[in-house]
Symmetry: C3
Subunit: 655 residues, 3 copies
């Protein structure tokens, strides 16, 4: 902060209806300027000011960025990555397994929490921030990995066989010889190392949470600020963290969500990130610990957009919304990641709009928080499949990742207003869904695939894409006809696949026009056994093979998409599956850019959100029981037409 203005800040926060702030994260060098010398005066000052103003505080542990003295004394705290040892400067540069880092991290956490624990402003704690293993691979980590492998496999013979290490002489004949995985060309070994790295994150967060738990009061929570796969914005499943596993040590899941804005604002990432985070702890409400205010220069919101975004978060089940950050930073690195206030600390259009959000949250919040959502559709994702896809995606020179397969499926649901949850292979609640969407489940154990077969047999619906079921949990390709175990439920098999060049779906079966009817990226040459063919390839040679099939199996239905399809075709396939699962309802009369979300509030009433993600006015029929529009307090009758302003919204609470 360039000059003292805490009182002014608090006053402006209050004016904007802000009732919670997050502090102390990444402040290690300030709170412990030298080893063992602590100074929490900044924290005290802010805590007191906030408490006085009735603003609650989340305390972040300061371990996300290491101080200079720690690096100087223990250079090994900087992680060794495949490109060498990290240098001091950036955050997220440390080896989270390093004993000196751990010891000092624990000391500063204990000192800080011991100091603040009784402060009444605190509602909860955030352990670390956007934690990853940061690709730490040095000798010490390698030692841990070998121990992990010894524990998991006991015998090298098992590993050599399961991973096919004989190939190119990669066989390991003695634990002492176990080479670093940095240079490995063996996808099984490489993928297992990635899994091990994700485990390091889970363990680290559990370790921090355990320390914090010794200090926190029963009414205080522990959270983490997870983040998503980053593609200039929050794009997909986080490759470096097993979110479902890591969230177990927390009381409540937290997330940061950043997304394109202005004419590119669609709400998709808000919905996607919300659905992922809500699913982390089985449908529990979650915290949006960071999202953009002004953000990047290209993200300065149009009038109305900040409001639209804020209520969209609530509509997905968020219970809190925090902006990163309050004011714009004057030096350092994130100077152009602008906060609610610009560098001049003065009111501006974004801050002014935030004030209306605060007022509305104040006024309507009790009808909006703790929204309970019940979805019958889920996306089954898998970090193992994601990692394996990095090794064996669409081939050398291609850039598409697992998330490029997953997101179009999610987007198809979103754009057609089909609410969904996320499940992963550890989920025990698959059976509570009627339809599972399964992108490229490339690596999976037999047990999971057999469970999926039973799911269909028992009446469930599944949509698989290409590259599902191909390899086992060790990324070893199955020796049966593909798609392996799920062939049974899908009623289709193949032995060859190729890259489509000038291939379309024969006869435009989804009536999407020539451009949208093209097959892209990947094509499996499917032969149905019992499946019904939904589409074949339009190609002089491959025309005899099926492209998309569906199969009745037991009481259920399994759809298999054998090739890359356009957005339009993907939407049609998904719509078809939703209909066949008998889930096509009144919300599906509306489609993007008009978006609806719903849930049951604390008053046990159903709340329907209607959002207009467009610069044009919109209008939607309201198909449910009579209710009340919450902003205007206007009565809404069944089948009444709701008018939505550009970037506008309405919220109807059923009676």
């Amino acid at each position: 902060m360039p000059y003292e203005r805490l009182d002014k800040d608090v006053q402006m926060m209050k004016a904007a209806g802000i009732n919670v702030v997050r502090i102390a994260e990444s402040t290690w060098s300030t709170v412990e300027p030298q080893e063992g010398v602590f100074d929490f005066s900044h924290i005290d000052r802010v805590l007191n000011a906030m408490h006085k103003a009735d603003i609650q505080v989340i305390i972040g542990t300061p371990t996300y960025a290491v101080p200079t003295w720690l690096v100087r004394k223990y250079p090994a705290v900087l992680a060794i990555t495949p490109t060498g040892q990290n240098q001091y400067g950036a955050r997220q540069n440390m080896d989270i397994t390093n004993p000196d880092f751990r010891r000092h991290a624990e000391l500063v956490i204990r000192a800080m929490l011991g100091h603040v624990k009784n402060h009444p402003a605190i509602i909860g704690y955030q352990v670390d921030n956007e934690t990853k293993a940061y690709n730490t691979v040095g000798p010490a980590v390698q030692k841990l990995f070998v121990q992990y492998m010894q524990t998991k496999y006991k015998s090298l013979d098992v590993i050599n066989k399961a991973y096919g290490l004989d190939y190119w002489s990669n066989r390991i004949n003695s634990w002492e010889d176990f080479p670093s995985t940095v240079g490995t060309i063996n996808a099984s070994l490489g993928s297992e190392f990635s899994k091990f790295q994700r485990q390091l994150v889970t363990d680290y967060l559990a370790w921090q949470a355990g320390i914090v738990r010794e200090y926190k009061k029963p009414n205080q929570f522990i959270t983490q600020n997870f983040d998503l796969d980053w593609r200039g914005y929050s794009f997909g499943i986080q490759p470096d963290v097993d979110h479902f596993a890591a969230a177990k040590a927390l009381d409540i899941a937290g997330i940061d969500i950043y997304h394109p804005s202005q004419d590119q604002l669609t709400g998709t990432e808000i919905s996607f990130g919300g659905d992922v985070t809500r699913s982390m702890k089985g449908g529990q409400n979650y915290l949006v610990l960071e999202t953009e205010a002004q953000g990047f220069p290209q993200w300065v919101p149009y009038p109305g957009q900040l409001r639209l975004q804020a209520f969209s978060h609530l509509a997905s089940g968020a219970n809190m919304l925090e902006y990163w950050h309050w004011h714009s930073i004057h030096n350092s690195a994130e100077t152009y990641w602008k906060g609610l206030l610009s560098h001049d600390f003065e009111p501006n259009p974004t801050y002014d709009e935030a004030k209306t959000i605060g007022q509305d949250f104040n006024r309507l919040g009790s009808h909006l928080v703790n929204l309970q959502k019940t979805n019958k559709v889920a996306i089954l994702f898998s970090n193992e499949a994601l990692t394996a896809f990095k090794w064996f995606g669409f081939g050398w020179g291609t850039r598409e990742t697992y998330n490029d397969v997953l997101r179009p499926l999610y987007d198809a649901l979103y754009r057609q207003n089909v609410g969904c949850d996320f499940v992963d292979p550890s989920s025990t609640n698959l059976e509570s869904y009627k339809l599972l969407i399964v992108p490229a489940l490339y690596a999976a154990p037999n047990s999971l695939l057999e469970r999926m077969n039973r799911f269909v047999q028992n009446g469930g619906h599944v949509v698989y894409t290409y590259k599902s079921g191909f390899s086992d949990e060790n990324v070893k390709v199955r020796t049966t006809r593909q798609p392996g175990v799920i062939t049974e439920a899908c009623g289709v098999s193949f032995s060859q696949f190729t890259i489509p060049v000038k291939v379309a779906l024969k006869g435009d079966p989804y009536q999407v026009g020539a451009e949208n009817n093209r097959v892209t990226t990947w094509m499996e040459l499917l032969t149905p056994t019992t499946a019904k063919v939904l589409a074949t390839y339009d190609h002089p040679v491959w025309g005899k093979y099926a492209a998309i099939t569906e199969n009745r199996y037991g009481k259920g239905l399994a759809t298999y998409i054998g090739c890359g399809t356009s957005t339009a075709v993907t939407e049609k396939i998904v719509a078809d599956a939703v209909k066949k699962a008998d889930l096509w309802g009144p919300d599906q009369a509306i489609r993007f850019p008009l978006i609806t979300k719903s849930g049951v509030n604390q008053q046990k009433k159903t709340v329907h959100y209607y959002f207009n993600y467009s610069a044009e006015p919109g209008s939607v029929p309201y198909p449910y029981g009579a209710g009340k529009e919450l902003f205007s307090n206007a009565a809404i009758a069944k089948n009444q037409q709701l008018q939505l302003a550009p970037w506008g919204m309405q919220i109807v609470e059923e009676k």
Copy 2:
């Protein structure tokens, strides 16, 4: 292999007519699991099974990929390259000059060969695989290089002068000061180091062959699996190996050839790789030790293509055809480089087509193997010129290499069905050709160029491109008018050159249309002395200079191409040269996609292959004496029209 199925594999191989397999390569970690502990049981098992099935075996020495224990004990076996020391994991990561590597490689070779040498299934040995120096540049290699330089040049004064090391203070005044060439900016020094690295490969293969020769029986051969410049497929002359020199230590040359497929299948790489390999040992038949079956996903062959490819190899003089690999690999790295069998080990369209090839080889093989070919056209290539072109090609920021100059010339011959051989500066048989095509012979000693002049003088025809004769064997630019020594035969000279921008050939002299008439990449501002001008530049300033010339010199003719030309113009120039060399014959009535190849078989009869590299049916006149079509056994009369199915072929054996 995920499960035991050797008998089944053998049975399927037999069904496909497979009568040779290659084994043991890259298995060091299996056959020597710990230092000095050997286990050849896998090899024995396969040898016995193959022998029982009457399938012959090529044993590869296992040295291509090093085991973990070797790296742990002797970390220096991993080569130091300009980007640092290699890491364990990939194949081809070792320093082939490292004494510990050499010692252990020799031990495992001797142990393996001592163990198997009497097995009757073995027909030959492959030494190592796709051997290179892998850019090894560490201090130990540098020491060898300095010794090499001392031996070659004796005096630093000679080097300083020959290489122009005074420039930018690179002068070396004491052998002790000799710096690593890794950072050198001196193209002469850098090129010499590349030559030295190629020499390491020659020496290494000769060393391995020497060891193997101590064990092999007189009726067994020694080969190597050479490969070509790789551009996602086999593209051009291998930059890292002097093929002609390295092949001297072998009994028979081997090659792997991979190429685009499906609609991109042209047969060019099969022909190119075959011509190069056949030329390595002076026209001797060769082994295709690897080629694609299904290969990459984008290479899955269309029906008929696998057959077309197989017979195309024979038509170029191959005596053996092996697929990489039998079945697809279930783990590791080359999982998506698919074999004859998919991962499911079941018959599939590719395998089924291979069966027909096996049957036809069986039936017709005695008329097809040991094909003798006699060409009057050769391409003169040079590894020295190739390396020098890397330093001084078309200028900073350009990516074209020597092979980008060579391949269009080769392709022009191929597409016009002009058979050719390859010669290099070491070849003693230049004089047996009527036409030599010489791409960018940038670095060459006076002796070679004077020999070329005499070749023309004595009645030979030569086509040179730009950048020929420019520098001497030390990559020192000649101080005479360019193109130096060959000015005499070419009757043309220049002192300036530039990059063409909106330049064409004046008046479209080859009648190829505006697009094809453009000059690209490079243009020398030629002034004829005695040459006839074939084309001048169409440009307001450069219009007074010649672009392409030809010159009668003695009894011969020298064509000089001073600029980059389109495929169409290149074909016309080459056709013109072939005609003027009086080599235009009946085969030239046919052109790509219809391809013809011929040779004399063991029965001393001339065999004519006709291939259709197209999805459309084709038809060619058969201009030779009456014969028999080998597949159908049908009689063929002179001037009869042969019908070629899409991707089809016919083979006519003259009576």
Copy 3:
């Protein structure tokens, strides 16, 4: 030199009118082949030959490239950069702060100058060449940087606050902990380190100049060959050197200027480089120590261009013109950077044209050298702003640099024949100008901005672009409304900015057509306080904000450009500013490709150059008093039309 031909070279130089050569630079390995062993015979030989031929010599100190023995004995002379330690080979690879390098550099300079100092051929000395700090960052340099910081700031508290180091825990609490800046993410710290590196260059050149000054005669000069930001040619302000500071140690400024040629020859770089270099020492004439003869292959000049270029240099105030280099180099690296002679040493069109230049220089030189120029327009550039712009330019993923903002402004002046000088924040003569053009003055102290305000108040005109005034000298963003201090003179402020997507200037205010009217790259959402709005944004949301404004302040006028504009709009804005500053004169009746330059010669007469940078003939009115065309000696009357041949020129000396 491949063979002895000094006499022939001298004879050809004389024939071309060459009267000065530069030698000895980068010859350390030749003049000191081993430590302490000196051999200046080459230098003596050339000095004697030149003296005999009446050609004068500039001696370059040989320190630009280090000899092998120095590197072997003191490996630390090779700089450690952020990507590791440099390797031997290239020039410019040393750490200019290394004590061993310094000691030996001093020894060789003293030995060489002691040896040659009395030679009558010498007219001056060049210290080193294109000197930079070469990004030296190793531990020794880091130590120097910490000392520099201690001297500058005394206290870490000051630094922590000024640089905002608390952010992401970058706070430094003890001088011992001061981390390397290599990995820093703090733009303030990173920018200061860049400034420190530029200071190293200033100090190093002053140190060398100090040594040389002990030897040189009073009539000999000391210069340096500065160079410009390199973008394949000389493009903009040099980021790595504070030219104005570094030039203080010299007697006369020198520069090398390379530029596109053939159809891309515009003269812009000649003019730009000349204006920068002339401004280094306050309008003093300068030396062009290197420029292209044939240069790169794509630069071979069209007939007339070499002459056009040569006289363009003189028209900007150059007093000497040297080509890099005399003849083309036969080995090493710069082989395709061709000299006046090709590798064949024979006359060629470029050399032949150079002969006419030499003759004309000889004939007319006394009317052309020592040209005095007086400009009322200057561009205010800043190395601090340039560096800060690297950190905070147009955002992640963009490539535009400070020079991409500066050059279009310069080019707008050039194309409209408005002569200009350069000033930087250290300049004491701002007040001598009527119009200052200020590109993206992103980082600047209050004192400079207040001085600029006063400049306007006192009647000066200023044109600022976006991103001016934003941060202070420590790259800390100001906490006031933007553009900070200059808001006062500009009468405009903003708090938000964004990236333009489909944004234009409302109503095409500069009448440039739709394509040219587009807003690109950056847009500030301006609100005028007292300013007049020249343009607003054409956009549904941002339409209410101003894009370009001007403001009367005191007796002057400040224009503020808040967004990226096309070349056409930039020219219009600049023209408008020139007119309002009452500087629009007769030269502005001419515009590119017809260029005019003028100055006062030694005869105190005004000389007007007219250049035609085009392949089409041109014609310009001559608006000044009667004079004489110097080439033809023809009398020229006022208002006479001058005919300019393609790439031609005329020079009129007023009576």
